[in-house]
């Protein structure tokens, strides 16, 4: 019996010392394996005097049970501490950068164009487009600017080598295209986004190519009050609610009355800063009631129909929005610029 006690102490001490799975397995084989010391003891029972056998057998079985339980407990503890060590080793610096999928970005002009399209779509304006290369007739004459008209000086024009064919200087010829395609006896509500071209030195503030979005609404009861309403709605949606707007008299040969719309400066909120040239106002679009001659040229009777038109520059809007100082970035295709947006 004394042997049993010694074996127990020795085994438990050995178990406590086994710190990993290999040591545990060695211990298990040594004590609880088929040739292990505990089974050896049990196997030795028949050699004992019969009187000792039951007591010894009981004690040996108890020892086997105790050691098995101790082993399970120890194995679990070792497994746990192993897992804990593994998890501890998995620990990371969470401030390391993540694995980022490579996604492309939207060009800032297209971003603004999508915004504009969306705002006007909600007001029932649909997108209608027309060519970049245009006739003098559509770009000027039918818009109430006969050849030699002084107002033509407002648009520096690129002429092509084909007489009478020019690069459109504005999206306004789209008004005639739209009226002729969608009219004559139906109301119209369209916006006409597109690229325009001007014979202008390229500088930080002026480009030879830029987008414009023209708008046109024609109906039997369309008024200048409606025009103001649409502009106010648009400005509040694009620049945020609560904008102040200012409407100034202006001149475009294809609208009468004509108007220029200003919004309170989005940077200084009207206090005056370099962006608004200390006026507190930013010009956002030119507009007006469609000139009767233009309505007639589009196939509408100006005595029965009236309409308004407006035009704005998405690049300018984008520049104000993102604080872009130089318009030349837009078509320079420098990814270091483009990747800052969208």
């Amino acid at each position: 019996m004394h042997d049993l006690q010694r074996l127990r102490d020795q085994a438990l001490a050995g178990l406590a010392a086994a710190g990993d799975e290999t040591a545990l397995e060695a211990w298990r084989i040594q004590y609880l394996g088929r040739k292990g010391q505990v089974l050896e003891l049990l196997r030795a029972i028949p050699d004992l005097p019969a009187a000792e056998r039951p007591a010894f057998g009981q004690a040996a079985n108890a020892l086997k049970g105790e050691l098995s339980a101790a082993f399970d407990e120890r194995a679990q503890a070792v497994a746990q501490s192993k897992l804990a060590a593994e998890l501890a080793a998995e620990g990371v610096d969470v401030t390391l950068p993540g694995r980022r999928p490579q996604l492309g970005r939207l060009h800032p002009s297209n971003q603004t164009l999508r915004e504009i399209n969306g705002i006007f779509a909600a007001m029932g304006f649909q997108v209608y487009t027309s060519p970049d290369v245009e006739t003098d007739e559509l770009n000027f004459e039918l818009l109430n600017m006969p050849p030699g008209h002084p107002a033509r000086d407002m648009w520096d024009t690129f002429y092509t080598t084909t007489p009478g064919v020019i690069m459109r200087t504005h999206t306004s010829p789209g008004q005639i295209h739209a009226m002729r395609a969608l009219g004559p006896d139906k109301p119209i509500r369209v916006i006409l986004p597109g690229m325009c071209y001007r014979y202008e030195q390229v500088t930080a503030r002026s480009e030879m190519m830029f987008h414009q979005v023209e708008g046109l609404a024609i109906g039997r009861r369309i008024t200048m009050a409606d025009l103001k309403g649409v502009i106010v709605e648009f400005a509040n949606q694009l620049y945020g609610a609560g904008r102040r707007l200012r409407f100034r008299c202006s001149h475009f040969p294809f609208t009468e009355p004509s108007v220029e719309a200003d919004v309170d400066c989005i940077l200084c909120r009207g206090k005056g800063c370099a962006i608004c040239k200390y006026t507190g106002w930013l010009e956002i679009m030119g507009a007006g009631m469609v000139h009767p001659t233009v309505l007639r040229n589009g196939g509408y009777d100006p005595a029965e129909w009236s309409g308004f038109a407006f035009g704005m520059g998405p690049e300018r809007i984008t520049m104000l929005k993102h604080g872009i100082s130089d318009i030349r970035y837009f078509f320079g295709n420098d990814v270091r610029f483009l990747e800052q947006f969208g």
């Binding site: 993540g98 492309g104 030699g148 002084p150 690129f158 009355p257």
Partner: protein, 906 residues
């Protein structure tokens, strides 16, 4: 847009504005359509509402002249400095307790001068430092020169911040009140206005004054007798024709009344050419015109004040020419189709003839340049030949000069369109053409000429010969327009009663007549107004023009803000736009950056795209419809749509392919970053034979270069993107649009590309092209030694597919079996052929097929390649057994053997 500068001191001659804050005035004008871009403050402190910070102000802006330090002074005595030859001592009265002595070196002051009025600064005054660059201010300090104390200073314009002028001191008019603070006497604010072309009538002080009078409902001042004759007169028929001169001095013949409907001439005798007094020079300078001499200054002054350009001829020179012509030197025949009605009488008189230029005619204009004239230009000629380009520029020969004694003053009216064309053709824009080319009233000629003649008499001591020679074959008619409150309501959406419309229009000097309703409705209110435009309004012809007048005087801010209650027009799905944006979204999802490049390119761009060829052979449409054209379409630059007036040769024609600008963008970006993945959706421009306008199809271009991954610490993959990255993007795009099944790729040979290039077809029709750039093209674009893959696709066929349905495939609940298949085939066998054989033999049980390895080398015989596929088999109705799969597999292997000669690899 035309810029004019309006000094408020000058404006105040015509309408009382002294009580108005310049800011308020500027805002009201701006809202009414006369945009004030900027206010220049001269000697006045800016209004508190002026927000421009001092460092942003123009020269002199913000230098308010201190009322207790700057005065109108009078020099009572001038003598030489006892110890300095070049310096003078002047005694100045300025309203102080005792006169002060100053030391000055002013070149326009001489010993003995007295009674001269000057701008006087006492010690401590803040002035502009005349020797500093730009505008720096300084404080005037007491100084001693050779023993004599200077107690103040007589200022130049520069020291006061008025102009850059520092040659001499300012000499004020004799009636300037001594002791008055200078700010009150000379202080000013100048409105810089940028006016739209319809506002020709406002390009002058009087024109702006009329607006101010109407907008603020104030009377126009009629201080000058000439003004009284004109300003109150509304209808041209009431405008008196001038008296004919008692003694004839010139004969006027208008041969081209369509180009010159009126010509008037006034004679001013015995002028003395010299500098103008300071007040004239001051006004001219503030208005942006350089003073020259009293006669020229008078013409400029009247042009700025009234808007009528005039021209001063040396009358003696005209006479000499007339005599020469009479002696037979000249060749000009005198035809009097429309003359001032006077027959030439003895002695010889100059004859002024308005006619078209003769072919090949030339003339030297007063800038000294010889001008080639063409028959569509209006000449002012005499019997010897041309003496001026009508309304554009005078001739050198008859110009007023220092010896001029008598001045023949021209005030005429010209066709504005012809005037604009001539000034553009001769590249002679001027203050005169800025006005004539926008259309000004012929009625303006006489009053402006009269004002100018009197001014010359005043400034140059001349004598105006009574009467005016006036030739006016095509009298101007005033527009008469009828308007109703109902029409105003229909356009503005605001009720304006007839009485208010009338009141506003009358303020603007329109004549308004009420048209009584017809007899059967006599009890009704008057609803129609007949409106006659004042003589100076050439811009009014229809009711809408009057509606704008009413609206802008009431103020656009008074118009209500409403939402349209008109019928909503029919709405439609815009598939073209939706699908374009879907393609954009898909490409962005594929990791590509959206971009936009210039549609205008230079000739060299297409040439560079074909750099792999010694002599470029350009693509052609070859009679194909644009939709059927195989890409890329690198057209001969000579055949592209070309600009007549390019800004630069690098942007003088329209692109036929997006690839030129795409490769440019690649090259530019690769200089700054290592990896570029770009796309653009944009128009190309294809000239179509027999059509005036080009086709403008939209294309999609893609460009890839650099490592596959962005090169972060986690996933470094420095493998370069190549043809298959590009093809993968296109396959993904096509698949997502439901088009991959109808697309085929076939090898392409095009000089743009090296051997890795393919055309992509959609249902057998060309869709686009993709490939890796030929090394020669890369070099031509200065691309680094790296792979660059580009593609161009037509957008329309992609867009047409967007509404296509994608039929759902049922999902099987039975297990799938995966098998690998490794094959040896000849190099000439394509992957597509192998795949097709597998799919055909695999039938409905073959659910998926992925090529997972392509191998050449060890264990593969030369001329062969090894392809390894992972096959997935699955049935919808049962669990497949190995025997089922084995049957299909044997069928596949057999088919591969027959069709492409494939053998199984062990």
């Amino acid at each position: 847009m035309t810029v004019i500068r309006v000094p408020l001191s000058w404006l105040n001659d015509f309408v009382d504005i002294r009580d108005l804050d310049p800011i308020e005035l500027a805002e009201r004008l701006t809202l009414a359509g006369l945009e004030v871009e900027h206010i220049r403050w001269v000697g006045l402190n800016p209004s508190p509402r002026y927000h421009v910070p001092p460092e942003r102000m123009d020269e002199g802006d913000g230098l308010g002249w201190e009322r207790d330090k700057l005065f109108v002074g009078e020099i009572t005595r001038t003598e030489r400095h006892p110890d300095a030859d070049r310096l003078l001592l002047a005694t100045v009265e300025y309203g102080g307790v005792k006169p002060m002595t100053i030391i000055t070196g002013a070149p326009n002051l001489r010993p003995g001068d007295r009674g001269l009025k000057i701008a006087f600064a006492v010690i401590g005054a803040r002035l502009v430092d005349p020797y500093a660059e730009g505008t720096k201010t300084m404080v005037l300090k007491a100084g001693k020169i050779r023993g004599i104390q200077s107690e103040g200073m007589a200022c130049s314009e520069k020291e006061l911040g008025i102009s850059e002028e520092h040659e001499g001191i300012i000499l004020l008019p004799a009636d300037a009140p001594v002791g008055m603070p200078l700010a009150d006497y000379l202080g000013d604010a100048v409105l810089e206005m940028d006016l739209t072309p319809n506002l020709a009538r406002n390009l002058n002080i009087l024109g702006v004054a009329r607006e101010v009078a109407a907008l603020f409902n104030r009377p126009l001042k009629r201080v000058q007798p000439e003004l009284a004759r004109i300003a109150g007169i509304v209808r041209p028929e009431a405008m008196p024709r001038p008296d004919q001169p008692a003694e004839p001095f010139v004969q006027i013949v208008i041969e081209a009344p369509d180009l010159c409907p009126r010509y008037t001439a006034t004679l001013i005798r015995d002028v003395q050419i010299g500098p103008s007094p300071h007040w004239v020079q001051d006004r001219l300078r503030k208005a942006g015109v350089r003073p020259i001499n009293n006669v020229v200054d008078a013409t400029n002054y009247v042009m700025l004040e009234w808007g009528q350009p005039t021209h001063a001829f040396d009358y003696d020179l005209l006479l000499e020419r007339a005599i020469k012509a009479k002696q037979g030197v000249g060749t000009e025949p005198v035809l009097p189709p429309s003359s001032s009605g006077r027959s030439p009488t003895e002695p010889v008189l100059p004859t002024i003839i308005m006619r078209r230029a003769k072919p090949g005619e030339t003339m030297t204009t007063l800038d000294g340049n010889e001008r080639q004239l063409t028959p569509d230009m209006l000449m002012i000629a005499d019997t010897l030949g041309p003496i001026a380009v009508g309304g554009v520029m005078g001739g050198l020969e008859t110009e007023v000069n220092e010896r001029t004694r008598h001045v023949l003053l021209e005030a005429a009216s010209f066709d504005f369109i012809n005037n604009r064309r001539t000034s553009q053709a001769l590249r002679l824009p001027s203050e005169a053409t800025a006005r004539f080319s926008k259309g000004i009233s012929a009625e303006l000629t006489i009053p402006a000429a009269s004002r100018c003649a009197h001014m010359m008499a005043e400034l140059a001591g001349g004598r105006v010969v009574a009467g005016v020679e006036d030739c006016y074959p095509l009298p101007q008619h005033s527009a008469v327009v009828e308007i109703t409150p109902a029409e105003v309501q229909r356009i503005l959406g605001m009720d304006v009663p007839a009485s208010q419309i009338q009141e506003i229009l009358e303020r603007l000097e329109f004549a308004v007549e009420e048209i009584p309703p017809p007899a059967d409705r006599a009890a009704q209110r008057i609803e129609t107004l007949r409106v006659t435009a004042p003589w100076f309004r050439l811009d009014v012809s229809i009711p809408a023009d009057l509606i704008e007048e009413v609206a802008r005087v009431i103020g656009y801010d008074q118009i209500p803000t409403t939402l349209m209650d008109d019928a909503l027009p029919p709405q439609w799905r815009n598939w073209a736009l939706e699908s374009k944006e879907r393609v954009r979204d898909l490409l962005m999802g594929a990791g590509l950056q959206d971009s936009i490049s210039y549609a205008l390119i230079g000739a060299e761009l297409n040439r560079k795209l074909l750099a792999a060829q010694g002599e470029p052979v350009y693509d052609t449409l070859a009679g194909r419809a644009p939709a059927d054209a195989p890409l890329p379409l690198i057209l001969d630059p000579e055949t592209l749509v070309r600009l007549e007036n390019p800004l630069t040769p690098a942007a003088d024609r329209l692109r036929s392919t997006l690839l030129g600008s795409m490769v440019n963008a690649l090259a530019a970006n690769l200089r700054a970053v290592g990896r570029v993945a770009l796309f653009e959706i944009g128009k190309v421009y294809w000239p179509i034979p027999g059509e005036r306008l080009p086709a403008e199809p939209e294309h999609v271009a893609i460009a890839l270069a650099g490592p596959r991954e962005a090169g972060a610490w986690l996933n470094r993959n420095d493998t370069l993107m190549d043809f298959f990255d590009l093809k993968g993007v296109i396959e993904e795009l096509l698949e997502r649009l439901g088009l991959l099944a109808s697309a085929t790729f076939e090898p392409a040979t095009h000089p743009l590309f090296g051997p890795k290039a393919a055309r992509v077809l959609l249902k057998g029709k060309p869709l686009g092209v993709l490939g890796e750039l030929h090394p020669a093209v890369r070099r031509a674009f200065d691309l680094p030694e790296t792979r660059a893959a580009v593609a161009e696709l037509q957008l329309a066929p992609l867009a047409a597919a967007i509404s296509a349905r994608q039929t759902m495939q049922p999902l099987s609940s039975f297990p799938a079996i995966k098998e690998d298949l490794a094959l040896l085939v000849d190099e000439s066998v394509t992957a597509e052929q192998v795949e097709m054989a597998i799919r055909q033999a695999g039938g409905s049980l073959l659910r998926d097929l992925v090529l997972f390895d392509l191998y050449r080398g060890k264990q593969v015989p030369a001329g062969k390649k090894s392809l390894a596929y992972a096959l997935t088999f699955q049935a919808d109705d049962k669990t497949l057994k190995d025997a089922d799969v084995e049957k299909v597999r044997r069928r596949i292997v057999a088919r591969l053997g027959q069709t492409v000669g494939a053998e199984l690899r062990g």
